[in-house]
């Protein structure tokens, strides 16, 4: 995983609550066996009509937001299915920061495994960011977001921050605890399935 760098970008405002992972990447695109190439399916049913023409009223189809790396959305973003394809699609499309007042648990956790930073901010601040038209800067190291007119800090778990900043492989980290896993297995009372 690449290490997380400071991001400077305009924000893409997706002013909707309860955006579920079925909308982020619809089920017909879950059949691939690799992680790449999901960007073209991102928000597919909102981006395209039945003839697969771009819908002009959907925010991602506005050329202004073409190179945006920051998505701002409403409450409970990423709810529903556990499909990590949702994060792969957002990342492949170009989003590396997602800001919302709240996230669904599994989606939130999936972000960190792929180098995507989910940031929880107060509802009022998110509403302001949804209106923000200028560049904003997201500095993970110092946990600060700068807009043209303001500066705010955000919270992040120290372990997740380290994983992102250093681009760590958490399986390799876990293997350092091999002895502890073995000790656990020796005393475990739950038998094998077979």
């Amino acid at each position: 995983m690449d290490s997380f760098k400071k991001i400077t970008s305009i924000v893409t405002p997706l002013d909707k609550v309860n955006v579920d992972t079925d909308q982020i990447v619809p089920k017909q695109f879950l059949k691939l066996v690799q992680k790449s190439g999901f960007g073209k399916f991102l928000f597919f049913n909102w981006r395209y009509d039945e003839q697969e023409n771009k819908k002009s009223d959907f925010v991602l189809n506005n050329p202004k937001y073409e190179n945006s790396q920051i998505l701002v959305a409403g409450d409970n973003f990423g709810c529903g299915s556990s499909r990590e394809h949702a994060v792969w699609a957002l990342l492949d499309y170009g989003f590396v920061v997602i800001i919302a007042p709240s996230f669904a648990d599994i989606f939130f956790s999936n972000c960190f495994k792929n180098g995507v930073l989910p940031i929880i901010l107060d509802q009022k601040i998110v509403e302001k960011l949804l209106q923000e038209t200028g560049m904003i800067e997201v500095d993970l190291k110092n946990q600060i977001i700068k807009t043209s007119s303001s500066k705010m800090s955000f919270e992040i778990d120290s372990y997740q921050k380290k994983i992102l900043l250093e681009g760590l492989d958490d399986i390799a980290i876990t293997f350092e605890y091999e002895n502890k896993i073995l000790d656990f297995e020796k005393q475990s009372k739950i038998p094998s399935v077979l």
Partner: protein, 471 residues
């Protein structure tokens, strides 16, 4: 201070614990299916890693499989590749697979309990959000993403922030337990606490309204915990739980001694504190029907469609969400639920496709025909459920009523296989999600119980099943 059931299971599975950091938790059972595993196996291969405990790992194929004639090849090439990839991966890594021809094939959350793989007090994960189903047995059962699937395959552990404990008490007795079901209880809960009401928590369902339920009904409740945003849902095991798991194909040989160790231990202490609480009284609850595009948008069958103002309680975002939902669902505020005509009926999914669900639905249908403008199907949750139902003659009741009787799989719950709604079609569905396009692009889903779905099939619109003779 005492501990909650969740805290007890959590503490007994900690491998590494550090202050202000996620804990490393041991996983006792890992269930694998074809959609969320290929990239995980590929990750192992690329890093020369093996599956640490194939003996704690079980796989089946359910999301993509066809529910019609199994002797025919799968027409969709990408589905076929995903299924073959699972076969290859299981062979390569030495994992037991219940494949398409196995009598044990079925929806992963139906077969786990049915085979005695799900155990009280254990930790269970699967790359599927409805893993919460297994919590009905007093297991801590978590849906995970593909990266965590890879992590568990490699290490049999995962890093997890400790969720909070959420007590949901279900009090009282239903007047007509055949008409007002576990599905109606859980939809009522989600209607009240909202789709984000359980975020960051593990719910423990407690009270007379829960202990009264059969194991299969308890699974329906725990299954939909994720629709309230919870990490997991739990019910303390009791004699019903222990009886259900006895003498199943994979029930452990030392089962009785395990039961002895669970009794008295796997419960919340009387002086334990929950961080969040909610109580639902069920004496007078009605059958539920969802009207919108998330499971919180649900009302009584006797109600009419709410106006966005009425629904949102002053919250502008919720109001706009409700407006969008009504537009998508092509419904007007004030329309009586009972006047909504339906085109399709789906009885199936990990929420409601167990034997009891099919028995209850068949009572509504027996000796009748479905409405001429309705297309209806029953998709048993597993091949074993299908066989048991056929031994009871349920297939004949459904087929005589003009239902289609299918092979086991996820089917039209999520439209990853040929079973989908056409744009604009309206479906009474026993599944768990009414998201836009979930059952097919442009399809409109109303979540209901199996008896409500069956009655809707007969009448062509929703009816209050409390008015039918179901005993």
């Amino acid at each position: 201070m005492g501990k909650t059931l969740f805290e007890k299971i959590w503490e007994s599975h900690i491998v590494v614990e550090k202050p202000n950091n996620p804990s490393l938790i041991y996983i006792d059972r890992h269930l694998v299916h074809e959609v969320t595993s290929p990239q995980a196996f590929e990750g192992l291969r690329m890093n020369n890693r093996k599956v640490r405990r194939p003996d704690l790992t079980i796989a089946t194929m359910d999301h993509n499989v066809s529910t019609t004639d199994r002797s025919l090849p799968i027409l969709d090439q990408t589905s076929s590749v995903q299924i073959k990839t699972l076969e290859k991966n299981c062979k390569y890594f030495g994992i037991k697979l219940f494949d398409i021809d196995s009598p044990n094939q079925g929806i992963v959350h139906v077969i786990g309990p049915q085979l005695g793989i799900t155990l009280p007090g254990s930790t269970i994960v699967c790359g599927d959000s409805h893993t919460s189903t297994h919590g009905a047995f007093g297991a801590l059962a978590l849906g995970i993403g593909t990266s965590d699937v890879e992590h568990v395959l490699a290490s049999q552990t995962m890093w997890l922030e400790k969720p909070k404990s959420f007590e949901i008490r279900v009090e009282g007795k239903r007047k007509n337990p055949h008409a007002v079901t576990a599905k109606d209880i859980v939809l009522s809960i989600i209607k009240n606490i909202g789709t984000g009401g359980g975020t960051g928590t593990v719910i423990e369902y407690r009270g007379e309204g829960i202990t009264d339920l059969s194991m299969e009904q308890r699974m329906t409740i725990c299954n939909m915990s994720i629709e309230a945003g919870a990490r997991a849902g739990l019910i303390a095991p009791d004699e019903k739980t222990f009886d259900y798991l006895r003498d199943r194909e994979y029930t452990p040989k030392n089962y009785e001694s395990l039961v002895d160790s669970w009794k008295g231990n796997l419960k919340t202490d009387s002086d334990a504190k929950f961080e969040k609480e909610f109580t639902l009284h069920i004496d007078d609850i009605a059958p539920q029907v969802s009207w919108g595009t998330n499971p919180g948008m649900t009302c009584n069958v006797t109600d009419s469609i709410p106006s966005p103002d009425e629904f949102s309680n002053g919250d502008l975002n919720q109001k706009r969400g409700a407006e969008k939902a009504l537009e998508y669902m092509a419904l007007e505020p004030g329309t009586l639920i009972e006047n909504i005509k339906i085109d399709r009926v789906f009885i199936g999914s990990c929420t409601n496709a167990r034997l009891e669900d099919l028995i209850e639905a068949s009572k509504v249908i027996k000796g009748q025909k479905i409405s001429s403008h309705v297309q209806a199907m029953v998709v048993p949750g597993s091949q074993m459920v299908k066989k048991q139902a056929e031994e009871m003659g349920l297939d004949k009741i459904f087929i005589d009523a003009n239902f289609e009787w299918r092979e086991a799989g996820c089917s039209m719950c999520l439209g990853m296989n040929p079973d989908i709604l056409s744009p604009g079609e309206r479906c009474a569905s026993t599944s768990n999600r009414n998201f836009e396009g979930r059952q097919g692009t442009g399809g409109r889903t109303h979540l209901v119980s199996p008896v409500m779905a069956a009655a809707a099939a007969i009448h062509g619109h929703f009816v209050d099943v409390r008015e039918l003779d179901l005993d």
